[in-house]
Amino acid sequence: MRTALLTVALALGLARASAAQDLLVPMDATQSNHLRAYGLAYWVLKQDGSAEWLLNYRSGSFLLPDAPEIRREAALRGVRVEPVSGDGLAAIRAEIERSNMESVLLEKAPRIAVYTPPNSSPWDDAVTLALRYAGIEYEDLWDGEVLKGELPRFDWLHLHHEDFTGQYSKFYLTYAGAPWLADEVARNRDMAQTFGFENVPALKKAVAAKIREYVEGGGFLFAMCTATETLDLALAAAGADIAAAFADGDPMDPGASAKLDWSRSLAFQGAELVENPAVSAFSDIDGHQVNTPWRQPLGAFQLFDFSAKIDPVPAMLTQSHESVIEDFYGITTSFRRERLKPSVLVLAEEPAAPWVKYIHGNFGKGTWTFLGGHDPEDPQHVVGDPPTDLDLHPHSPGYRLILNNVLFPAAKKKQLRT
C-alpha cells in the first residue's frame, strides 16, 4: 500500500513538474459539482499531495497540482477544473493579497470518525451521506469505542441525531412497540450493561464526558441536529437526573433545570428543560421545537462574512457560493441566542429571529462546531421519507457547510490559530 502511494506521489510530482501549472477547482456558480470537489481535494491529500484552499476566491476555490491523474479523477467525479498557468497563478495570488481573501495550505487528509449506532442507515445522517457522495473515507464508531478511549486516533469526530440524555429522542412513549425503537432500546441497554452502567442515561453521560475530553485534548468536533443540544445537556447534567422514568426507572429530578452545571457544557447555558416526557423536545435551547404544537416556521439563514486573513477558521467554515440558505428542521433545528455562552462565535443566523443556526467555539486545545437541523435538502424530514439523493443536489450550499468542516482539520496547524 505504502509503495503504491509513493508511486502515485512520485507520479504526481513528476507530472506536475512537466506540466508546470496548477489546476483551479472553482467553487463559484461555474462549478459542475460542488460537493464532489471537496472529495477531489481530499483525494489529492490522501495521495500525499498538497492543496491550497483559496478562501473567498471564487467562493472558496481549491488549487491543486496539475497532473494527469488529478485531471482524470476530476473528470470521473464530474468536477470542473481550470488549468492555471504561471502568469495566471500570479494574478490570482495578487488578487488574494489585495482583497478579503487568503490561501490556506491543506497538507494532510484528516482521519474522520462518525459516531453512529451499529446497523444504522447511512442515509439517515446528512454527514455520512455527504462523505459517501464526495468519496471521503471515514470510520464508524459508537459508545464502546468511545469508552475504550479510541477517539484520539481521529482528527475529526461527527455526531448527528444521537440523544445524549439517554431518552431515545423522547420517542419512547409515542412509539412504544415499534420494532426500530425496540432495537434501539435493546442495543443501548446492552451497551450500558456491558460497561457496568446502571442505565442508558448514565452511559450517555459518560460518553459525553469522553467526547468533551477529546475536544479538550485537541480534537475537532462537528455536531448536527439533536446531538448538539443533548450533548451539552448531558455534560451539564453530571449531577442531576434529567431523564424521564421510561429511560432510567425514576422521574426527572424535581427542579432539574436549576441543578444543571453549565460550566461543563461547550456552547449553551441557562437552559430550561422540557419536563414532559410525552413531548419530543429537550429544552428551550432549540428555537423551532419541531415536534411540539408551538413549532416555529422555517425561514432562511444568512452566513456571516469573516476576514479571511484575520479569522481564517470561521472563514473556512462559511465558504459558500450562496450566503442565504433555506432553513431545515431537525429535532434540534436552531439555537436560541439567549442560551449561547458569551464566547460562542455565530457563523450563521436568521436575521431578526431569536435564534441562530450555525455556531463555533474553542474548548481546550480543540474546537467544536454545531449546525442545527437534520438534512439540508430535506427541510421537513419525516421519518420514512426516501433517502436524499445528492445527485439531485450537487450544488447544495447546506451540504457545503458540512464539507467545509470536514476539510477544516486538514489545514496546516499554525494557520488554524485565530
Binding site: L76, Y138, G177, P251, N276, W294, V382
Partner: protein
C-alpha cells in the same frame, strides 16, 4: 421530525378493541346539546385550533363531568397540544362523579403512565383493583399501563394477582402470553396461548390475532405452541389452530402436513374454514406457496354452488405470483362450472383466453375466442381478445393464422385505444415479416401512440430501427424478431451479428437491440454484439450504452469488477456529454465500495 405510527403491540390489542367500541357507546350516552358541542370541538380540532377545542370540551365537562365522548376527545386533543397534564383534573373530576366507569379508570392510568408518573400509576391501579377486586378489567388495564412504561415485571405480578382473584387459569391468559412472548419466555408464552386455545371456538380469532402480532418476533414460542396443540388424539379443531400457528412461526412444511392430516378428519364445512384461515395466514406470513396449496384445498372443499364466486379471485392470486399453470386449471374449471352467459363465465373465459395466449397455446386460445365470440358477439373486448390471440399465433410463426383471426373477428376497427394499439402492433409485425417496410413502420407508429408501458417501448424501438435500416438490415431485423418471439433468441441475435458491414445509421441501434434481447435471455452472445457496436461505431450515440452494458456484464462475472470499473471510467471520460454519465458515476461509486474504509 414526525415518526410513523408504530404497529400496536402485545397488550395494546385489548385497548384497541375497547377504543373502537367506545366512541359508539360514548356517543349514545351523550345528550343532543353536548353532542353538538363535541362535534363543534371536533371541527376546531380539524381546523388546527387545539386550544379552542380544549375550551369547548372543558365547558361540556363542566356541565357533565363524566361525559365519555368529551373526556376521550380532550385526551386526544391535549396529547396533540403537548398538554396532556391539563387533562388530569378533568379525569379526576369524572372519576369522582362515576367511579364505577372502567373506561375513565383506563384513561386515567394511560395518562399517568404517559406523563411518567410511575408512583401515581401504581396508586391509581391499586385503587381501581380495591374498588372491584373480582373483576378482570382493573388487573388487565393496570398491567397494560405498567407495560407501557416499561415496568413489565410489575405488570406480570398484577396479571398473576388478577388470575388468582378470578379463580385461576385461564383468566388473563392472552395478556400473560403477550408479556412472556415480548420477554422471550417461550415455554410460558406457549402455555398461556394453549390456555386461550382451550377456551373454545370463541377464542380462536383472539389467538390467531395474537399469533399474527407476535409472528415476527416470537417464532420459537409459537413452535412450542404447535407441539402442544397437535398431539396424538388431539381434537381436529386444535389441529386446525396448530396449522395456522405453524404458518405464523414460518414452518410451512409443518403447517401443510398438519393441515393435510386435519383435512382428512373433518367435514366439508370445517375443511373450508381451515383452508380459508390457512390461506389468509399464509398470505400474511409471506408464504405464497402455502397459500396456493390452501386455495386448492378450499376449492376441493366447497360444493359446486359456492365454487364459482371463490375461483376468480383465486385465479388472480395465482397469476399475481406468475403461476399460470395453477391459474389456467382454476379458470378452466370455472368456465366449465359457471352458468354459460353469466358475468363470471364471461370474465373467466376472457382471462383464460389471455392466459392461454400468453402461454403460447394458440390453438386453445383460438377455440376459446370462437366460443367467446359466439356467446358475446357484441362484446366490446372482442377486438382486444382477437389481437391477443393473433399475437400468440404470430409468435408461434403462424402468420397466416394470425391474419385469419383478424379477418374473422374484426368486422370494424376497435374504438378503444388499447385494442387499437394491440391490433396495430400485430399488423405491424405481419407487414414486417412480409417485407412491407413502410406499412410496418406506419402500423408500429400507430401502436406506439396507442399502447403504454413495455409494449409501447418495443413499438418505438422497432419504428426507430425501420426508419434508418437498409433493406438488408430490415430483412435481418424481421428474421431476428421472428426468431426471438418464437423463443429462439440465440438464433435471432446471431442474425444481427453476422450481418455484413455496410454504411447505415441503424446498425449500432440494431446491435444494441439484439444485445438487449440476448442479455435478457442471459446469453453470452450479448457481449460480442455490444463489442461490435462499440468497436465499429465508437462515435454513435449508442456507444455509451454499449459500454454500460459491457460494464454490467463484467460486474456480474467473478473477478470482473476491475474490468467493469475500467469500462465505466472510459464511458465517463470519453463520452462526458452522454446522458448515461451520471448513471455511470453512480455505478462506479457502488462498484468501488471504497467508503467507508472501516
Amino acid at each position: 421530525m414526525a415518526r410513523r405510527r408504530p404497529r400496536t403491540a402485545s397488550l395494546a390489542g385489548c385497548a384497541l378493541w375497547l377504543g373502537l367500541a367506545l366512541p359508539v357507546f360514548a356517543a349514545a350516552q351523550t345528550p343532543f346539546h353536548e353532542r353538538q358541542r363535541v362535534l363543534e370541538a371536533e371541527a376546531r380540532e380539524r381546523a388546527g385550533d387545539l386550544a379552542g377545542a380544549q375550551r369547548i370540551l372543558q365547558e361540556v365537562l363542566t356541565a357533565r363531568p363524566a361525559d365519555l365522548s368529551a373526556i376521550l376527545m380532550l385526551e386526544r386533543v391535549s396529547r396533540s397540544a403537548g398538554d396532556l397534564e391539563s387533562v388530569l383534573p378533568w379525569i379526576e373530576r369524572a372519576l369522582a362523579a362515576a367511579p364505577e366507569q372502567a373506561v375513565l379508570r383506563q384513561v386515567h392510568l394511560r395518562i399517568l403512565g404517559d406523563l411518567g408518573r410511575t408512583r401515581e400509576v401504581g396508586l391509581a391501579g391499586a385503587e381501581w383493583i380495591r374498588s372491584a377486586p373480582r373483576e378482570l378489567s382493573p388487573y388487565r388495564e393496570f398491567a397494560l399501563a405498567l407495560a407501557r412504561i416499561g415496568a413489565r415485571d410489575s405488570a406480570l405480578a398484577i396479571l398473576e394477582r388478577g388470575r388468582r382473584a378470578a379463580g385461576g387459569p385461564p383468566a388473563l391468559a392472552a395478556e400473560l402470553a403477550d408479556l412472556h412472548a415480548v420477554q422471550g419466555r417461550w415455554a410460558l408464552a406457549a402455555g398461556e396461548w394453549m390456555r386461550v386455545a382451550r377456551q373454545g371456538p370463541a377464542f380462536k380469532a383472539l389467538l390467531i390475532e395474537k399469533l399474527r402480532l407476535h409472528a415476527s418476533t416470537a417464532a420459537p414460542g409459537i413452535r412450542l405452541l404447535v407441539d402442544s396443540l397437535w398431539r396424538p388424539g388431539a381434537p381436529p379443531e386444535l389441529g386446525a389452530l396448530a396449522a395456522v400457528a405453524a404458518t405464523y412461526a414460518g414452518d410451512e412444511m409443518r403447517a401443510r402436513q398438519i393441515a393435510a392430516e386435519v383435512l382428512a378428519l373433518v367435514d366439508s364445512r370445517a375443511r373450508r374454514e381451515l383452508a380459508e384461515s390457512l390461506a389468509q395466514a399464509a398470505r400474511e406470513a409471506g408464504r405464497p406457496g402455502l397459500a396456493s396449496w390452501s386455495y386448492e384445498q378450499l376449492l376441493d372443499a366447497v360444493p359446486a354452488a359456492e365454487w364459482v364466486p371463490l375461483a376468480l379471485p383465486i385465479a388472480q392470486f395465482h397469476l399475481s405470483r406468475g403461476d399460470t399453470v395453477a391459474a389456467t386449471a382454476v379458470l378452466q374449471r370455472t368456465v366449465d362450472r359457471a352458468p354459460p352467459g353469466s358475468p363470471t363465465h364471461r370474465s373467466a373465459s376472457a382471462l383464460l383466453l389471455e392466459v392461454r395466449a400468453a402461454r403460447g397455446e394458440g390453438a386453445e386460445a383460438r377455440a376459446l375466442l370462437e366460443e367467446y365470440a359466439r356467446r358475446h358477439p357484441k362484446d366490446a373486448s372482442l377486438p382486444r381478445l382477437a389481437a391477443v390471440v393473433a399475437a400468440a399465433h404470430l409468435r408461434a410463426g403462424d402468420r397466416r393464422g394470425a391474419e385469419k383471426i383478424l379477418e374473422r373477428f374484426l368486422s370494424a376497427e376497435p374504438s378503444d385505444a388499447k385494442a387499437l394499439g394491440l391490433l396495430a402492433a400485430v399488423r405491424g409485425r405481419i407487414a414486417l415479416y412480409e417485407g412491407k417496410w413502410d406499412e410496418a413502420r406506419d402500423a408500429l407508429r400507430l401502436a406506439a401512440s396507442a399502447l403504454t408501458g413495455v409494449t409501447r417501448t418495443e413499438a418505438i424501438e422497432l419504428v426507430s430501427l425501420l426508419e434508418a435500416c437498409t433493406p438488408n438490415e430490415c430483412r435481418a431485423l424481421a428474421a431476428a424478431l421472428r426468431a426471438i418471439e418464437a423463443g429462439e433468441v440465440a438464433e435471432g441475435a446471431a442474425r444481427v451479428l453476422v450481418l455484413p458491414k455496410e454504411e447505415s445509421g441503424a446498425r449500432p441501434g440494431l446491435l444494441l437491440w439484439a444485445a438487449r434481447h440476448a442479455q435478457a435471455a442471459r446469453l453470452p452472445l450479448a457481449a460480442p454484439l455490444l463489442e461490435a457496436a462499440l468497436r465499429d461505431h465508437p462515435q454513435a450515440a449508442e456507444a455509451p450504452a454499449a459500454l454500460l452494458g459491457l460494464a454490467e456484464m463484467a460486474a456480474a462475472e467473478p473477478g470482473g469488477m476491475a474490468r467493469a470499473q475500467a469500462m465505466l471510467e472510459r464511458l465517463i471520460l470519453e463520452y462526458p456529454g452522454s446522458a448515461l454519465v451520471p448513471l455511470a458515476r453512480r455505478r462506479l461509486e457502488e462498484l468501488r465500495t471504497r467508503v467507508p474504509s472501516s
